[in-house]
C-alpha cells in the first residue's frame, strides 16, 4: 500500500519551474530512490515534503489522507524525518544531547541518562553501534550520519528522507550505511533516498523515480531496470560507461617524489617517506580510503603544504623550495583542489575573475598593475564556450553555478595554463554523471597530448576509469602500484586495507 503519495506537485521560483507536476508513489516499508543529476529538482521536492517550501499546485497524501505541510514542525508531527546532506549537529555536545535537543514535551528537568539509555537501545536495534555519551566531534562522518538518523527515529519518524546521504562517506562507510538502510526498511520504515549514484540505487532501492529538469522521467522497479536505462533517463541521452580508450604513450619521467614526509592540519604525520614517479602522457591514479594522506600528497606537490623531509623534482630539477606561485609559473604544476568552493574558486567573483586567479598580476592579463578587462572578458567567453560551462551571464557569481560547471571552470583555468603536470584531487566528488564524464574525458584528452596527471580519488571506479597505473595509499605510504590491467577491485581493496603489494 502507498504510504506517501506526491500528486502532481508544481513549484516555481520566479520564471523557473523547479518542479513540474511531479508524481510519486512510495510504498510502505520500502526503499524508494530518487535519482537525478544536480539541479533535477530532487532536493526541492524533498523540501516540499518536509514543509520548507509550499507547492504552488498539487497535493501530498500520507496513508491516503491529504495533508498540508506548512513547516518542518508539521512534517515531524506527520512522522517525516529528514537527514540533510550537511549534518545539523552541535559538535561539542554528546550524541544523546544532540538527539534530545529541541525535543518537545520535556518537563522542567531533563533526565538525560534515561534518554541515553533509550537511544542506546534504539541504536542497538538497528546495529548502529553509537555510544550516546560520545561527543559528536569525535565521531567519524559515518557515525554522525547515524546520529542524524537516530534523531529522526527518536522523534517517531516513520518516513525517512535522506538527501545525498553517501556523499560525505568513505567507501568503507557506504557499504555499512547501505546495510543499515536495509535493516531500517526491514523494521518497517519507509525510506526516501535521494542520490545521483546509480550503483547505490541498484544495490539498495526497491523502486526508483528518475527526475530530470524538474519532471519525473520514469518510475521503475529496481529489479526490472538496469543501469544503462537509468543513466539515459537521468541524463537524457545515451551515456558511454566505457570511456574512450585513447591510450597514453608514457614517455620520460616528469615528476619524481622521493622520501616525502609531511604533517596534516592536526600536526600528525600524514606522509611517511613516500616516493613515486610520474611520466609524460600518463595518468597515475592514487587510490585509498579517505584520510590516508592523499590530499596532503597533492598539497605538498602543489606547494600548499610544507614538506618536512624529502625532495620533489620536475624534469630533474629540485622544486622543493619553490612557493605556490613559482611551482605554477616555473615548475609548471597545475592543481585542481578538492575544495572547489573554498579553494578552487572565489564564489563571489564571476567566471572572468576566477579564470585569471593565478595570472592576475602578470602579462598579458595585467600591465603595470592595471587589469586588461577587454582581454580578460574575451578570453573568459572563449573558455566558457570551449569547456561548455553553462552560465547565464559571464558576470554571474560562480556561487550560482552547479558543481559540474564550477569544476569545468577550474579545469579550464588549470589546463589552459599548459602545465607539465596536473595534480587533480577528488575531481568528481559531488558531480553528476554528465559532469563526471566531461571531467574524465577532458583528462584523457590531455593525456593524449602528453600531459602527466596525478589523479587522486577515493572512488575506485573513477580511478579505474582513467588511470594507467594505480598507486594505493595507506597511512601516508604507498602500499603498492598496479598497472591497470592487474588492478582488480579485490587486489586494490587489500592494498587499501594496508596489506603490502606482495600479499596482494
Amino acid at each position: 500500500m502507498d504510504h506517501v503519495v506526491i500528486d502532481r506537485v508544481t513549484k516555481t521560483f520566479g520564471a523557473f519551474k523547479a518542479l513540474d507536476r511531479v508524481t510519486l508513489r512510495i510504498r510502505k516499508g520500502s526503499i524508494h530512490a530518487i535519482l537525478g543529476e544536480n539541479g533535477a529538482g530532487k532536493t526541492t521536492l524533498m523540501n516540499v515534503l518536509y514543509g520548507l517550501y509550499q507547492p504552488d499546485e498539487g497535493t501530498i497524501r500520507i496513508d491516503g489522507r491529504p495533508v498540508a505541510i506548512h513547516s518542518p514542525k508539521d512534517a515531524i508531527a506527520l512522522g517525516i524525518g529528514m537527514i540533510h546532506q550537511h549534518f545539523m549537529l552541535v559538535s561539542s555536545l554528546t550524541v544523546a544531547e544532540n538527539v534530545v535537543l529541541g525535543l518537545g514535551g520535556q518537563g522542567p528537568s531533563l533526565d538525560l541518562r534515561a534518554h541515553a539509555r533509550r537511544i542506546a537501545e534504539l541504536s542497538r536495534d538497528f546495529g548502529f553501534e553509537v555510544d550516546p555519551t560520545a561527543p559528536v566531534w569525535r565521531l567519524p562522518m559515518g557515525m554522525r550520519q547515524r546520529v542524524e538518523i537516530l534523531k529522526a527515529l527518536y522523534r517517531d519518524a516513520a518516513i525517512l528522507i535522506l538527501d545525498e546521504p553517501t556523499s560525505v562517506l568513505a567507501p568503507g562507510e557506504i557499504e555499512r550505511f547501505l546495510v543499515g538502510l536495509r535493516r531500517l526498511r526491514d523494521g518497517g520504515y519507509t525510506i526516501l533516498f535521494i542520490t545521483h549514484k546509480l550503483e547505490e540505487v541498484m544495490a539498495v532501492a526497491d523502486r526508483v523515480t528518475v527526475m530530470r529538469n524538474g519532471a519525473v522521467t520514469a518510475e521503475d522497479e529496481t529489479a526490472a531496470t538496469d543501469r544503462r536505462r537509468l543513466a539515459r533517463l537521468m541524463v537524457g541521452r545515451e551515456v558511454v560507461f566505457e570511456l574512450e580508450e585513447r591510450h597514453g604513450e608514457p614517455g620520460a619521467v616528469v615528476l619524481e617524489a622521493e622520501g616525502l614526509v609531511a604533517e596534516n592540519d592536526r600536526g600528525l604525520r600524514a606522509l611517511d617517506d613516500l616516493s613515486l614517479n610520474l611520466r609524460t602522457g600518463e595518468i597515475l591514479g592514487i587510490a585509498g580510503v579517505d584520510g590516508n594522506g592523499q590530499s596532503e600528497l597533492a598539497e605538498v606537490i602543489a606547494g600548499l603544504r610544507p614538506l618536512q623531509a624529502g625532495r620533489i623534482r620536475i624534469h630533474g630539477r629540485d622544486i622543493s623550495n619553490l612557493d605556490v606561485r613559482q611551482r605554477r609559473t616555473v615548475a609548471g604544476i597545475g592543481f585542481v583542489p578538492e575544495d572547489r568552493q573554498g579553494t578552487g574558486l572565489v564564489l563571489d567573483y564571476g567566471a572572468p575573475e576566477n579564470l585569471i586567479l593565478h595570472a592576475f598580476d602578470r602579462k598579458p592579463v595585467a600591465r603595470l598593475g592595471i587589469l586588461n578587462f577587454g582581454l580578460i572578458n574575451r578570453r573568459a567567453a572563449e573558455l566558457v564556450r570551449k569547456y561548455d560551462v553553462r552560465l547565464r551571464d559571464l558576470r554571474q557569481p560562480v556561487r550560482l553555478l552547479s558543481g559540474g560547471n564550477q569544476q569545468k571552470l577550474i579545469l579550464a583555468r588549470e589546463i589552459e595554463a599548459a602545465p607539465a603536470i596536473l595534480v587533480v584531487l577528488q575531481p568528481c566528488k559531488g558531480l553528476d554523471v554528465g559532469a563526471i564524464e566531461f571531467v574524465q574525458n577532458t583528462l584523457l584528452g590531455q593525456r593524449a597530448r602528453g600531459m602527466a596527471t596525478l589523479y587522486v580519488s577515493t572512488e575506485l571506479e573513477h580511478v579505474l576509469a582513467v588511470a594507467d597505473r594505480i598507486a594505493v595509499m595507506y597511512r601516508g605510504r604507498i602500499t603498492g602500484i598496479l598497472d591497470r590491467g592487474d588492478a582488480t577491485p579485490e587486489r586494490l581493496g587489500l592494498l587499501m586495507a594496508g596489506s603490502d603489494a606482495n600479499a596482494a
Partner: protein, 362 residues
C-alpha cells in the same frame, strides 16, 4: 547590469534608513516643542545651502571621509578596523612632531613631509593589530578597539608633558608654523582641502579595487583566503598591507585636523571621527565610491546641528540621537538580507580568514 542594480538597491536601502531616522527624529523635535520641518530646514539649509555652513560641513567631512576609507580598505580584505580613532590620534601626533621639530622646509614640501609622518603614525598603529591577526590569529576587532584608548591617552600625555606649550593653561602643543597651514577650499572660511583630498583618495581606491591587480589581490583575500593562498597571494602580507593602508588614511585624517583646522595638537581633539568613519563605511556598504556621499551627509548633519540649535532652539544633541537612529536603521536594513549583504559577506570573510590562518604556512 546586475551588479549595478544591486548597488543601487543597497544605496537605496541606506537612503530609506536615513529617511526613517529623520522621520523618527522629527518626533523627537516635535516632543521638545519645535516644528520639525523648520528644524530640518534650518539644519540642511544651514549645512548645505549657506556658504559658512557648507564650509563647516566640509570641515567635518574631511576626517569622517578619511576615517571611513580607513575602515573600507581593511574590510575589503576581510578585517574590521575599529581603531580609526586611535590611528587619527597617532597620525596627528606624528604630523605635529614633524611640524614642530623638523628644520623648517619650504611650505608644500614640509606639508607633504608632515602628511607622510602622519600616515606613518596611523599605519604603525594599525600594523600592530594587523600583525597579531595575520600571524597569531588574535581578534583584530578587540585589539584595534582597545588601542584607541592607548592612543588617546598617549596624546594626552604628550601634550601635557613633553610637547606641552610653555605656560599653556590647558594641555596643548605649541602652534605649528603658518607655512604649514593647509590651503583653503572656500576663502575666508575654515574649509581646508582635506575633504577634497579625501575625495581623491576615495576615487583612487574605487579605481584600484575595480581595475588593478593590487585591488584584485586584496579583494580575493577578503572574499576567499583559501583561494587566495592557492593563487599564490601572500594572504598574511596582504592583510598587513590592508591594515597599514587603512591606518595611514586615518593618520592622514588626524594630520589634516592639525594642519587644516587646529594648528596645534590638543588633547581629546577628535570628537570620535574614527567611530563616525565606521558608520559611514557601513552606510556606503564598503564601496569607496559611495563613501564621500555618506561622509558629506554625516558631516552636514553634524555641522547643521549647531545652526539648527541657534535657529529654532532645538538642542543639537537631537542630532546625536538622529545619528544613532541612522546607525540602527542601516544595521536593520543590512540584517533584512544579511546573507546577501556586504556586511554578511564581510562576516563570512572573517570566518574564512580565521580558517585560513589556522592552516600551516607553506
Amino acid at each position: 547590469m546586475m551588479a549595478i542594480l544591486v548597488r543601487v538597491l543597497v544605496l537605496f536601502r541606506t537612503v530609506w534608513a536615513v529617511g526613517l531616522a529623520l522621520l523618527v527624529g522629527s518626533v523627537l523635535i516635535a516632543a521638545v516643542g519645535a516644528d520639525p520641518l523648520a528644524a530640518y530646514g534650518a539644519l540642511f539649509g544651514g549645512a548645505f545651502l549657506d556658504y559658512w555652513g557648507f564650509a563647516s560641513t566640509l570641515v567635518k567631512t574631511s576626517p569622517i571621509l578619511l576615517a571611513a576609507l580607513a575602515v573600507v580598505v581593511p574590510l575589503r580584505a576581510g578585517l574590521f578596523n575599529i581603531g580609526g580613532e586611535g590611528q587619527i590620534y597617532l597620525g596627528a601626533l606624528f604630523a605635529t612632531a614633524a611640524a614642530l621639530y623638523l628644520p623648517e622646509l619650504p611650505g608644500p614640501v614640509h606639508i607633504a613631509v608632515c602628511a607622510l609622518a602622519g600616515m606613518a603614525g596611523g599605519a604603525l598603529w594599525a600594523l600592530f593589530p594587523g600583525y597579531l591577526k595575520a600571524y597569531h590569529g588574535i581578534n583584530e576587532v578587540i585589539v584595534t578597539l582597545l588601542m584607541n584608548y592607548v592612543a588617546i591617552n598617549l596624546v594626552s600625555y604628550m601634550v601635557s608633558g613633553p610637547m606641552m606649550e610653555e605656560g599653556a593653561p590647558y594641555p596643548y602643543s605649541p602652534e605649528i608654523g603658518p607655512h604649514l597651514f593647509l590651503p583653503l577650499l572656500l576663502p575666508q572660511s575654515d574649509a581646508h582641502i582635506g575633504a577634497l583630498i579625501g575625495l581623491v583618495f576615495a576615487l583612487g581606491l574605487y579605481a584600484a579595487f575595480r581595475y588593478t591587480s593590487f585591488g584584485f589581490a586584496l579583494d580575493t583575500v577578503g572574499r576567499s583566503p583559501g583561494a587566495a593562498r592557492y593563487a599564490g597571494i601572500a594572504v598574511r602580507r596582504q592583510m598587513l598591507l590592508a591594515m597599514a593602508l587603512g591606518g595611514a588614511l586615518a593618520g592622514l585624517a588626524g594630520t589634516f585636523e592639525i594642519l587644516g583646522l587646529k594648528y596645534r595638537l590638543f588633547h581629546l581633539f577628535s570628537a570620535g571621527y574614527g567611530f563616525d568613519g565606521i558608520v559611514v563605511a557601513f552606510m556606503a556598504a564598503a564601496s569607496p565610491i559611495l563613501v564621500p556621499l555618506a561622509a558629506l551627509f554625516l558631516g552636514g548633519l553634524k555641522a547643521g546641528a549647531q545652526i539648527m540649535q541657534r535657529a529654532v532652539g532645538v538642542e543639537s544633541t537631537v542630532v546625536d540621537a538622529i545619528q544613532g537612529l541612522v546607525v540602527i536603521f542601516v544595521a536593520a536594513g543590512l540584517a533584512l538580507r544579511i546573507q546577501d549583504s556586504r556586511l554578511g559577506a564581510a562576516l563570512r570573510r572573517r570566518r574564512q580568514a580565521e580558517a585560513a590562518l589556522a592552516k600551516p604556512e607553506a
